[in-house]
């Protein structure tokens, strides 16, 4: 059996009685959005390690297929996925996974996303279309998420209400502006997601 880590470890020690390293409780968040929108920059801005890249499999469902068939063609693709981590305390480690950009497909990241605390969908206001797939995915899977407009210096030319209207995201989905290069700004965007997730968990 694979051991399960308690969500609230009693001991603060990171070594067990035999002196063996005790792992922290791992939690994860997902950074999504279109190609080149700043996912890896976002991960790198806050990660304590240089973002690592690993090969993972995602199952793509061909988009635009004839809905009458109900048997969309599924294709498993190997994609490169960037991720980083932040050790929050000796017993708790946050992993940030940048989802591979697959804008032209409906996609199934379930294997990667299962158990995520929440998702951050990064948006470039010049290419709003690129984020729809991620927004749809999180809504469909009922994963708490926020939409974050990536803007230099955290400033955008558009009114946020206009962006919300253009994106057609539900009113309860938090919408924020951030700078993917700035650690404090990334931290605050992640906190928007987590506060939203907490409100849902408590509600």
């Amino acid at each position: 059996m694979v051991s399960e880590l308690s969500p609230t470890p009693g001991a603060r020690s990171v070594r067990d009685d035999d002196g063996r390293p005790q792992p922290p409780l791992p939690v994860k968040m997902v950074i999504a959005g279109g190609f080149g929108v700043g996912k890896t920059t976002t991960v790198g801005a806050i990660s304590e390690i240089e973002p690592l890249t690993t090969e993972a499999s995602i199952t793509s469902v061909a988009a635009g297929v004839d809905d009458l068939t109900h048997t969309p063609e599924k294709v498993t693709t190997t994609v490169a996925m960037d991720f980083g981590c932040v050790t929050l305390d000796p017993t708790l480690k946050l992993y940030l996974f940048g989802t591979p950009g697959q804008e032209r497909f409906g996609f199934m990241w379930d294997d990667l996303v299962e158990g995520a605390l929440g998702g951050l969908v990064i948006v470039d206001t010049r290419r709003l279309d690129d984020c729809y797939a991620a927004v749809d995915y999180f809504e469909h899977r009922e994963i708490p998420f926020a939409v974050a407009v990536n803007a230099f210096d955290g400033k955008i030319e558009h009114d946020l209400d206009d962006v919300r209207w253009a994106l057609d995201v539900a009113d309860h989905v938090p919408l924020t502006v951030f700078d993917a290069r700035d650690r404090g700004s990334v931290r605050d965007a992640l906190l928007v997601v987590l506060e939203h997730a907490l409100a849902r968990a408590e509600g």
Binding site: V2, S3, E4, L5, S6, P7, T8, D18, G19, R20, P21, Q22, P23, P24, L25, P26, V27, K28, I46, L52, T53, T54, E55, A56, S57, T59, T76, T78, M81, F83, C85, V86, L88, D89, L92, L94, Y95, F97, D111, L112, E114, G115, A116, L117, D182, R183, G184, R187, L190, L191, L194, E195, A197, L198, A201, E202
Partner: protein
């Protein structure tokens, strides 16, 4: 106490280029794959993996480099994702091999509890921990 040795190896040792193994990764897993259409839920990618004393004791006796490499990097707890990245192996190959080594008692795997991501106390701990992350080096954010 093994951490000293592990740190002695250093991150650099893992990230250096090395020749591709003569053993194809999916051959080593005997064609077994994790994820995909498998009926068995895949082990979460953030699952923590640690070498056991038994694993470290048999380090010299592994036939395949991949097994030895996994045990070696897991002297300190690692996620499956980190193992895959550092050893340049496909995530699903690492899943299968790590589970084999666990079954043999050479690795310990610690998966998060299924519901911990909806656990209010976990979310609060993550929020508190993240708030303490400074804007940049030095400064701690107020409030």
């Amino acid at each position: 106490m093994t951490s000293g040795e592990a740190r002695g190896g250093g991150e650099g040792a893992w990230s250096t280029e090395r020749p591709a193994s003569v053993v194809r990764p999916f051959l080593l897993t005997a064609g077994r794959i994790a994820g995909g259409d498998s009926l068995v839920p895949p082990i979460p990618i953030e699952t923590q993996v640690v070498a056991t004393d038994a694993g470290l004791a048999t380090l010299d006796r592994f036939v395949f480099d991949q097994h030895r490499d996994i045990i070696t990097v897991c002297r300190e707890p690692q996620s499956l994702a980190e193992i895959a990245a550092r050893l340049r192996m496909h995530l699903n190959v690492v899943r299968v091999l790590a589970d084999d080594l666990r079954a043999d008692g050479q690795l310990a795997l610690y998966a998060p509890q299924a519901r911990s991501h909806r656990d209010v106390s976990v979310l609060k701990r993550v929020i508190d921990g993240l708030r303490a992350v400074p804007d940049s080096r030095g400064a701690i954010r107020e409030g």
